[in-house]
């Protein structure tokens, strides 16, 4: 099993949710995060003084899947989350050794 962690633009969340659900991956966990990468932040003002906000709003989407599904999910993410402009985000795939569905006690791949 794998955990796919995608950091995307907040305004792309709706598209990503839809695309994943259509591809058969409705389950996910979503977190508001802030980040920086190539994209270097924006300027904001307070009482006319400018300051740099160097951590931008992003959304982290985590999807627990079985090993065979990784390629498909990455494809969906790349397609749905991309704008082609700087700041589109990253995806990391990490191994999951065990999974558990709390309600039923199911473990392993059935738990996903």
């Amino acid at each position: 099993m794998k955990l796919v962690t995608a950091v995307i633009r907040p305004e792309k969340l709706e598209d990503v949710k839809t695309a994943l659900a259509e591809a058969g991956y409705p389950s996910m966990t979503v977190t508001d995060v802030k980040g920086r990468g190539k994209q270097k932040g924006v300027e904001q003002t307070w009482r006319g003084e400018t300051y740099r906000v160097d951590l931008l709003n992003k959304v982290k989407v985590e999807i627990g899947i079985i090993d065979d599904e990784v390629d498909e999910v990455l494809g969906v993410l790349e397609e749905a989350a991309s704008t082609g402009s700087i700041g589109d985000g990253k995806v990391f795939v990490t191994p999951v050794e065990r999974a558990l569905r709390i309600r039923t006690g199911e473990t392993g791949e059935e738990a996903l």
Binding site: P10, E11, V42, Q44, W46, T50, R52, L55
Partner: protein
Amino acid sequence: MVDAAVLTEGINAVWVLTVTFLIFFMQAGFAMLEAGNVRAKNAGNVLMKNMMDWSMGVLVYFFVGLGIAGIAAGLTAPGGYSVAESFSYVNDPGAWIGWLFGAVFAMTAATIVSGAVAEQLKFRAYLFYSVGITAFIYPAIQGFAWGGGLLSGSGYLGAAFGTGYLDFAGATVVHMLGGVAGLVGAYMVGPRKGRYTSAGKSIPIPGHSVPLVVLGTLMLAFGWYGFNVGTQATVLAVEAGALVFKGEALGRVAINTTLGMGAGAVGTTAYTWIKDKPDPVLTANGLLAGLVAVTGAVPHVTVWGGISLGLIAGIQVPLVYRFVVDKMKVDDVCGVFAVHGSAGAIGTLLIPVFAVSGFSAAQLGMQAAGILVITVWTVVTTYAVFKVAEVTVGLRVSDAEETEGLDKGEHGVSAYPEFGTEARGGEGL
């Protein structure tokens, strides 16, 4: 010696100034109500619009607005007009309390519009329209209805019906005008992104704070006592040489304002509860709609009338709002048409039905005619002014700016720099 005329002038001035301050406070009420109704990313923009329609508006109304009202009245009634006389208040300190009392009504009409077009209208287009409504669109109607013009008993239309248009404190002159202007504006700027699916189904876009919505609503209700009861500007009068206390008239406007407001909230709550669950935002809207509906009627109708108008206004809020959104496909962000527009029209039209003085068909005709005139005038002029804005500065912010929020795009700020969906930096997360 105590001269009765001087005395009444003094007492009435204390009263008028006091209520004028209350009416001014409605600016704060609208600002909070509208801020609560939009997403956090657009809250700063809508607050800015509210501060500026007042601030620019008073200058415009001083240099242009009130004079235009006089001219508009003179043009539409026998007797004609004089530009010099229409603008004489500018240099007459004795006229300035009256000017201010007029100005707070004008700014109320103006500020209603911002609620309909929040979240996508460009700031400069809003300012442009704001000048238009305070310089011209509202003053003309003010002159027609209250300045002895077209709709008054002596105006061309009023004379034709043999009776003047009844709208005591501006249910239509102020509120319906603002509500219709908002509707036209919302139609022209188009719905917010995501407000309708591609199939045309409406998806609500919740505002960010119910407490701000209710705060704004109750601040408005407070100011409204100034608006309605204050328009009964004569506390004491000199009649046949004797001092007369206008207590009954004041009592009637005060009680109809109160019971109309209560019935508005009760009407909305009852209706929505029967359909589904009672909803705080709708109830707040219903409370205001009740106030709007009786605003024109308070001195003219019985208490049963005041209650009935409030109830009707409350019940129609959810119905009209959904009609605007679902059938007309107009994205009226704060629901200003249902609250100020249709509620004002209904309340004013029905005055003769609930009149203390009994029903009069001529009056009903005049009411319908007046509402028509104000509606047509507002639609046409608002359309024209926004059209000019569209071809010059443009109406709508870019897609990217709308997504990001107008606070960032138009003002470079964040309304809540530490919270929620906002990025922080500089001095730490």
